[in-house]
Each structure stands twice: as C-alpha cells, then as structure tokens.
Assembly symmetry: C2
Homo-oligomer: 435 residues x 2
C-alpha cells in the first residue's frame, strides 16, 4: 500500500484518488462494502486524522475550527490574503451508507491541491490560494439538522447552536467532537472567492443520458417537518379499543398520506418519512408519543408550497383519525435556487476540454455546496451513481467516471486559482499561452 | 416512616400495605407519580434489595434462583416438605408505568405472609408453608418475551434461553442481573399446591359494575407476531419515488390494517402495534428494515384463529402495497383457558366473608398467574383500576379497594395453608370451630 509520505513525491491523480478513496473506505467499513462513519464517532475521528496527516504531508496547512470543520490550505501564491478557491465535501456518512458519498469530494479536493502545488513547483503562476475542506455533519444522520458545519461557516447557525445539537443518546456534538479530539480552536479561513464540490449524483439521470459529468444548475426546494403525535399511554391488552389514543396509529396514517402526496405529482415531488421515534416503544403499551421526520421536495416553487400545505393538513387529518393530537415541532424551508451561470460555464468548458460528456441537471439532495450558494460563486459537479443507488452500502461509481470528475475539478480549480478565484476570468484564461 | 424491622412487631395489614406500596413506588419514581423500573435495572435492584430485607425481617427465608426470581418462604409448619401456597407478582415495570402494576401483588403477598406468621404465633395450626414471590421480567418492556421468570419456573423456557434474552442495547438478562447482584444460585422451591395473585384490573369492568373484587375465571387468548418489512436503503432526495422500497411505508400500512381488524369485532377482539424498530432510522434515508410487534387478543377461540390469519394476511398485503418483502420473525400463541373453579369458589367465599362485592370476569392482559395455570390450581384476583388507566403513570386504585383485595388474599391464603394448599378443602374449613 502506498504510504502517505510517498504520495506527494510521485503524485499522479489517476492513482492518488483510488488510493485515498480506499483508505477513507476503511474507516467504519461495513461487511457489505459500505461505511458506517457517523459524525464525530471514533471512525470519523480516525478518518479525520488520516485526512489531516495526508494534508500535512501534501504540503497544506491544516486548521480545525470550533465546530470541527477541517481546512487544508495550499499556498499557491506568496500572499496569505490572496483570494481562496475552496473545494470539499464531508467525511461523515449515514449508517450503512456508501463509501463515496462525501468522501469522494474530500479525496478529490486533496488530489486537486496536490496537483496545483505540483503545477506551482513546475512554474505555473497562481493568483489565489487553494483550500480543501471536510465539513462537519453534512448527513444529519447522528446530529440534526444536516449541513451543520457548512451552515456554521457561512454564519447561518451560531457555534453554540451547532455544538449543542444532540444525538439520540443525548450526547452533544461538542462533547462528541471533544471526545475524538476535533473540537478545534482555529479561526476558519476567509470566505472563498469560489467554492467547488464534486459528488456522486445519487440518481440515474447521468447513467440514462450516457454522460460522465453533471453540471448542477439548480437545487430542488425542500420543506422538512418534525411532527409529533401525542396519544395516551395505555395497556394494549385490557384497554378498550374505542378508548385508545394511539400515537403510533396517527403516525402510520401520516406516513401513508405523505407518500400519497408524492404520487399526485409524479416526477416533480419527492416525499418521505425516514425517521420515527416512539415512546415508550414497548410491545404491550399503546404509544404515548411518536415523532416522525417528514420531507417534501420539489423542482417547482408553487408546487412545493402547495405540497407543504398538504403535508401539514395530512398530519392534522392523521391525528384526527387516530383520535390523538398532532404538533409540528419544527419546520425548515429550503428554497429552489439556481447555481451561478459563470461557474456552470466554467465546469462545462473543463468537461469539454477533458473530452467528457456533460449534462446540466438539478440536485434533489442537499449538499454543502448549497450552504455556500449566495455566499460566493458555487459549483456542484456530479459523477454517475451506478443504478442511482445511494445512502446504501452498494453505492458505486465506475472508476473512469471518478477519474473524469477529478479531471474536471483539476482543470476548473487550476483556471480559478490562476484567475484570482473569479469564474468569469477563469473561462478566459488561455492555458497554452500562459504556460 | 415505619422502619422495616418494626413492621413485624406491630403488624397491621391495613397499615402495612400502603407503607410497602409507597416504599416500592420510590424505586424508579417518575415526576408524574409513576415508575420506570425496568427489569434488572439499578432501580429494580434497589426494589429487590428492599423486598429481600423486608422478607428477612418479617421472618421469611429468601431464595433467588438462576433467573432472578425471588422467593420468600414463611415456615408455617414444622415440615419443610409440606405443600406450599405461593403468592406473588412482579416488581419490574413498563417505562413510565404505574406504581401498582405488579408491586401490589408482591407487597400484598408479603403482608399475607406476615399475617399468617402472626396467626401461627397466635396458635393457628397450618398444614402448608407460604411462599412469596417476585417474578423476573413480567412486563417484557426491557427483555422480550414477557413472563420470563414465571415461565422459567414452570419449565416452559430453559434457564439459558431466559438469561440470553437481550435488550435494545444488546445487554443480556444474565449480564443485567449480574450487574445488580440478582443472578442467584438457589434452587427454587417445589411447585406450589396452589398459586394466588392479586393485581389491578387495568380495565373498567369492576368500576362500571360497582364491585371491589374481580374473580378471574378466564384469560383471553393472544397471538403475538414479530413482523419484519424488508425494503431497500436509499436516499430520500434523489431516489425516484417509483423505485423506492420503503420498509416504513410497509409497516405503516400494517399498523393501520391491524387496527381495522379490531374494529370489525368490537368488544371481543383487541389488536395493537406498540413497538417499532427502524433501520437506519435517519430522516433522509428510506428505511431498509422495519420490525413491528403485533398483538391480537380475543375472548373467542374461533375468532382468534380467524383474526390471527387476517393479521398474517394484512402483513403480506401491507408489504405488497409498499413493494417490500415481509417476514414473520416469530409468532407465539396463548390459548384461551379457564381458571380452576375450586380456586374461583374459594375467592368468592373469601370476598363474601369479608363483605366485598365480587364479580367473575376475564383477564385480557397476561399475568404471571397464567404461567402457573395448568401447573397447579391458580387464582387471580383483581381490584378496580380508576378509569381503567394502565401502563400509565396515572394508574391508581382506591385505598379501600386495595384493602379489600388484601383482605380477600389473607382469608384465601389462611384457608389454603390450613387445608394443605388444597382449594377444595380450603372452602370447607370452619374457621370458628378450628380456632
């Protein structure tokens, strides 16, 4: 196996990316080829330590901020205050998740950093520094909500709020980060001039269209509810049926109604209930309290509003059918937004230069890039997911597609770093002439 | 507060029972007046230690068997091999359960033992010894199935099977009992000549009929299923709705269908789903595997068979609707059975002698007494539950009804212990003449 220290000396992106991915895949590896690397778990700690060592050995300066975001700064200029081109993703995973979701973006950005540093050593002149990032708790699997690290970085959530999020055992993110040694003290780097992220598509569009590179031009809107059903704890034996106030029955009606909403808008609405918590959750006790996590997503703003209202109504109706009460504990709205044209154009140019078929598309899932959207020019690049399998141990992408994704990222990042992080200027750079 | 050591010297059942109940209620007390005293938890350990000390101080010999059942033997004869009259219940509770469920039967049997020993000292001649018992894991809240201790005692389950039951954290009952010091080494006492249990009704029948004493003549049959729905783990965002195999959606359909079965046989069928376990249970992951605990109960054997078959069909249909697979992981059948007439007659006589209105009735819930049924003459005595509230912190019974229940138990146990544990002979004893 290639050692970290030897990585830099004979850097070859085509070899380096598979090597890094296989190393990351070992942290929290499951028997079926996936990973369980929940945020701030010991496995996440090991992955972070490997990442930190790899960054250091590649010549980057590593910073860890108060919420555990890890930044690796590759100095490509002599000016520490030069604009930054940032690229990254996340190392946390779902339980029994895939080994590429997040890890691909982190590993690829490290390869890009190495490649740019090699280019600098080879004489290329840069006008921006490059920063690699691993965002804390993108998944929202252990701590809710998702996208905590990137949202904190852009100022959407306070540090205290983020550190006080608790898992199902009542452990706070702050405590969990301290336990693995990744509750940092460093000031994070300045906001970037441009942010890029490489991710697996998690859908089938690229595969169906025979393209290697997805240029994300828009994200779907999403409304996420926490709904609680409040019944009355009782014995499942002698308690008369007509007296029961069964919170789990209420939740069951809601789960079905939420699914039926999606069936009415085929293709433009996705809905789900993935999480349920039952009290006391005993086989011979009528449930007193049940909380469910509802998501509705759409590619159309008007439809999303209508669907979210229907979901709220469905929660009420479900409670009524089970003679229990319902409460919306929380609701978060993520609007449909366009990704900036300039960055999309840059990605299209780089795909074309590399000879990779590309396709403009939506992202339905949230990603850290969406946290950065509106803060700085942001680009999100997809590579195909085999059969669209995602949040699943069987998640996979062809090696050639991974290499194509990395190639596009290296081209885009090199152009951006030579153009002072400006995507408008990055497309104008004449690579032949300036080298 | 009365000390344990002073209990015996000035024994008065009317004072002793409320005192014991208030002491037991303190172990695992919740803010809303209930108890959370899960089997083999530290709180259960404290309650067991108090019980053991109280037994010893009352003059009983205490034995703890391999599965943690606690027996307190009151020697009322000079013959250790004399027949035994056994009386007891359980000290474990549901999460946020009531303070009387189980504890009443244990506390009352201790009072009965004290009363009988007093009578012996006063010159009464007995022909059986009396044994008080606290059965391990009646509730099935922490370890499944329920009735583990009493089932083990009668030979239905092996010791190894019982000790290897695991809670949701993977801790075995054996480990949990060791941790609290109640994995015993004693051989349990011989099977009793007669078993009695006092319990709260957990329904509203006694209250509605204005009776203080329920004489249980029959238990409802119950079929309990563990059903697993097997879907496909996927991202709740980009995964196309028509490709999803949502195990939680399948379970939701089953929960509703199981409820609808009960609605078709109003009054003679009770059904429930009280417990659900979801993998991975993450808000943005389509559930891969969901297990639910289904119970169907009926007062009619033919109906129970039909209803159980309908429940199995409902599980299949629910899986099909959600395009997932279903598996019945386990099924247990408890038949409808009559309690022996001789013991019911004895209880009726004792209620009448005490001036308490009694009523013959069914038990819908399972109790440790049902484990003993068929092994020895078994009697189950109910006192009213206010508003039928059960498995709930608000569970309560009027003090006068508690006292009536204890009075019936003392009368029945005294007759039984004087009649060599024979319920037939116990009703014939002429108390006036023989004293």
């Amino acid at each position: 196996m290639t050692s970290i220290s030897s990585l830099h000396e004979r850097f070859d992106p085509a070899q380096s990316l598979p090597f890094l991915l296989s190393r990351f895949a070992a942290f929290g590896a499951t028997r079926n080829g996936g990973v369980t690397r929940l945020c701030a778990s010991p496995e996440d700690g090991d992955a972070r330590s490997f990442f930190k060592d790899a960054l250091t050995s590649a010549g980057a300066k590593v910073l860890t901020d108060a919420v555990g975001n890890q930044f690796g700064i590759f100095s490509l200029t002599d000016r520490p205050d030069a604009p930054i081109v940032m690229m990254g993703s996340h190392l946390d995973s779902q339980s029994r998740g895939g080994k590429l979701d997040g890890a691909l973006g982190v590993a690829a950005s490290l390869c890009v950093g190495q490649s740019l540093l090699d280019a600098k050593r080879g004489g290329t002149l840069f006008d921006a520094n490059f920063c690699v990032v691993n965002w804390t708790n993108e998944e929202g699997a252990r701590f809710r909500p998702s996208l905590l690290g990137s949202s904190s970085y852009v100022g959407l959530f306070s540090t205290d709020y983020v550190l006080d999020r608790r898992d199902d055992d009542g452990i706070s993110l702050g405590e969990a980060l301290s336990a693995i040694g990744y509750r940092g003290m460093d000031t994070p780097p300045q906001l970037p001039g441009c942010y890029l992220e490489l991710h697996v598509e998690q859908g089938t569009r690229l595969e169906e269209m025979g393209a290697q590179i997805g240029i994300v031009t828009r994200n779907w809107g999403a409304v996420k509810f926490q709904a609680a059903f409040l019944g009355e704890q009782a014995h499942t034996g002698p308690t008369a049926m007509e007296r029961r106030k069964d919170a789990l029955l209420g939740a069951a009606h809601a789960i079905i109604a939420v699914r039926e909403i999606a069936d009415r808008w085929a293709g433009i609405v996705h809905t789900s209930v993935g999480r349920i918590q039952v009290e006391p959750n005993s086989s011979n006790v009528v449930a007193a309290r049940v909380e469910i996590s509802i998501e509705v997503r759409s590619s159309d703003d008007a439809v999303l509003s209508e669907v979210a209202a229907l979901a709220e109504k469905a929660i009420e109706d479900a409670a009524e059918r089970a003679r229990v009460r319902a409460e919306i504990e929380s609701r978060s709205d993520r609007k449909i937004r366009e990704l900036p044209h300039d960055v999309c154009n840059l990605i299209a140019l780089c795909a074309s230069e590399g000879g990779h078929e590309s396709l403009q598309m939506d992202t339905i899932a949230g990603h850290d890039a969406i946290s950065l959207l509106g803060i700085c020019p942001t680009g999100l690049i997809f590579v195909p997911s085999i059969a669209g399998i995602s949040h699943n141990e069987a998640e996979a992408t062809d090696e050639a597609d991974l290499a194509a994704g990395l190639d596009v990222c290296i081209r885009a990042a090199e152009r951006l770093c030579r153009a002072g992080a400006s995507p408008q200027r990055a497309v104008l750079i004449d690579l032949e002439a300036s080298q």
